[in-house]
Symmetry: C2
Subunit: 392 residues, 2 copies
Amino acid sequence: MRAGPTQEEIRRHNLGTLLRYVHVHGATSRAELTTRLGLNRSTIGALTAELTTAGLVSEAAPRETGRAGRPSLVVRPESSKVFAYALSIEVDRLRAARVGLGGRILDRRETDRPRGMQVLDAVEPLAEFVHELRREAPDDSRYVGTGVAVAGMVRRVDGVVRLAPTIGWVEEPVGAALRTELGYLGPLTVANHADVSALVEHARGAAIGCDNVIYLHGDVGVGAGIIADGRRISGHGGYGGEVGHMVVNPYGRECSCGSRGCWETEIGEAALLKYAGRTDRSGRDAVLDVVDAAMRGDSQAQFAVRQVGEWIGFGVGNLINIFNPEAVIFGGTMRDIYLVAAAQIRSRLNAIALPACREHIRLRTPELGPDAALIGAAELAFERLLEDPLLG
Amino acid sequence: MRAGPTQEEIRRHNLGTLLRYVHVHGATSRAELTTRLGLNRSTIGALTAELTTAGLVSEAAPRETGRAGRPSLVVRPESSKVFAYALSIEVDRLRAARVGLGGRILDRRETDRPRGMQVLDAVEPLAEFVHELRREAPDDSRYVGTGVAVAGMVRRVDGVVRLAPTIGWVEEPVGAALRTELGYLGPLTVANHADVSALVEHARGAAIGCDNVIYLHGDVGVGAGIIADGRRISGHGGYGGEVGHMVVNPYGRECSCGSRGCWETEIGEAALLKYAGRTDRSGRDAVLDVVDAAMRGDSQAQFAVRQVGEWIGFGVGNLINIFNPEAVIFGGTMRDIYLVAAAQIRSRLNAIALPACREHIRLRTPELGPDAALIGAAELAFERLLEDPLLG
C-alpha cells in the first residue's frame, strides 16, 4: 500500500502519460490530448513544452484543417532521434533493430541461426549488428536502452534463460553475456518472445482495446503471452505463459521437457510434420509447406492440419475457461495453421469452452507479424523512459 | 491512460490507503502508519482525525509500551460500528453474516440448502437472515453494503449467475432477486465463491505477501480464484478461473458442462465417491468420510484418494506452468484430500510442472477456513468505502 504522490511526482507522471500516449498512438493534436488525458489546455501546453525541450517530442502545425480558427498543434514522438536497440533470439534466426520512439523500426539486421548454435556464438553477431546500427545512427540521436526477446523462459531479475528447449539452451546467462559484449550500453532487459509480442499486439495491433488477451506463438514449440485486465501476466519469476507445457493428453508422446502429452507435443512443429509424413524435414518452411500442401488438396497434409487443428482448439478451449479472454491471437506458425483450420479450431474450442467464457471471444491473427518481437523488445527499453521521461 | 490526480483526489486516496491499511492489518500505531505509508506524522495525524470524525476509525493510547516518551496513538478500524452484510450461497448451505470493518464476523446465520433448491427459495431465507442481523445491530452502527458469494459463474456487471452446475442454476438473476427482496439496502455485489476466498487468503490468510496465488476450491465441483501480480484475474465478463473445466483427460467421463474429461470429472466429489465405491452417497460429509477411511487404512478409500490425488497433482502442475505462482492453496474439500495426499500431489505436480515454474512454489491450506467466503463477500461491499472513505 502506497500513499498518494507529491506534486512533483504528479508532474512526472503526467509527462510520462503524455509521452506514452503519443508513443502508442502517434501524432496527436494538443486538443485531442486535452480530451484523452483529462488535463486542461495550459497543462498540456506546459507538458509538451517540457518534453520538446527534452528532445522527446516535436510540435508542428497540422497540414490543413479546413476549419476556421487557429489549428491545434500536433505533437509527435521524436521517432528518428530517440531510439532503442531491439534484439530477437529465435529458433532459426537472430535479429537486431534500431527502433525509434513510437515503435518505428528505423534500421534492421538479420542472420540465420543454425540449430545448435550456443549462446556465445549468438551473442557475437548480435553485438556486431548493434555496432553497425550504432555507426549508422545519426549523431544527434539519443539511445535509451536495449531490449532482448528470447524464445525461452527468462528469469526476470537478471535475464538468465532458464530453459529454451527449442533453441537448446538451459540456464544460460544471456543478459550477462550481452551486457559484457555490449559493455558501453546502458540498461538491458531480456524477456520472453511471446510475452513482448503480446504486449505489442495489445498496444498497437490485433488486440487494441481488449484487456484480456492470449497471444499464442508457434515456432518449434508453443508459448503464450497473456494479458489479464490490461496487464501482462508474468508470474513469480517471470515464467508465466508456458502453455505449451500444459498437459492435454495424459496418454500422449514424451515431451522435450521430460513430461508427457504436453500441448506442444500435439500442436508443435514435430507433431505436424509427423502427421504429414515429413519427419525428414524441420523448421518454419517445412511447416508452411505442409499448410500450403493442405490448401492445395494434399490429403495427408490435410490430415496433419486437421489433427493439429483439433488439438489447437482443445487447448485454446482450456485457456478460455481459465482466463475468459476477449481475444486469442494466433502468431508464428500458429497463424498459418489457424488460417487453414479456423473453422475446425473454432468448433473444437466451442465444445470445450463454457458458453459464458467464450461468448465474446474473437480469434485473430497478429497485425504486426514478425516485427512484433522487435517492437516489443524495444518496448522493454522504452518502459523506463515512459515511466519518467526526465530521468535522463 | 489517465493523467495524474488533483490535490483533492490525493487526499481522498490517502484516506483510503490509511483506512485500507488498518482494515487489513488491524490496530496500528501512528508511528508505524507513518513508516508503512511513507507519509509524514502531521499528515497521518490529519488523516486519522478525519477518519475518526467520519466514524471509521478510533484512536487510543496503547496499553503499556515500557518505553520512555509519549507513546504513539494506536489507530483501529471501527469494527463494531461499520459493517457489511455478507451472504454465501453454497452447494449444501446458505450463510449470512454481519461483518465489521477489519473483516471481523460480528454475527452470523446458517441453514441447510437442500439440493435442487431454486433461486427464489434461497433468496427468501437469506433475506430473513439479513432482517434478523439488522434487528440485532446496534442503533449507532453504520451499514455500508452487501456482498454475495456464489458457487458459480457470476456476470460481473449485474450479478446474474450464468452457470452453477453444482447448485443447479443456469442464467439466474441472483443479484436482481436479492436486490428486490432487500429493497431498502444500498449497493449489492455478487461474485464467485472461489474468487472472494482467494482475495481474503491473499490479504489476510495463507498467502499474505504472495503476489501470484492460485486458490483452489473443491465442493461438488472445483473452481479457482487466481491472483496474478497482486490482482484478481476475473476475465472479460468475470468468469475467469473455471479451472474445473480445463479438460485433462480427452478420453475421460462426460462432464455436467457438456464437455468430456474436465478436471472436475477426475477430482470432484463424484469421482472420489465412485473410486471409493460409495456412489450411494453425496455431499461434503461423504467426501470427508472417504478421507477419514483412507487415513484409517481402508484400502478402497486409499485407492480413491490416490486416484484423485494423482489428478489433482496433474491439474495443479498445468496451472503452475501457465501461471508460475508462488502459492497454491487447497480449499474446501480439496483441503481434506490434500492433507492425506500431499506427498503424492507434490510428486505428480513435480513431474508435470517445469522446474523454473515450480521452484518457489508453496502448497498451503487456507487459514480462514470456510469463513473466507463470508469475509470475502463483505470485502466486495467494503471496497467502495476503501476507495473513497468520505463518499458517504
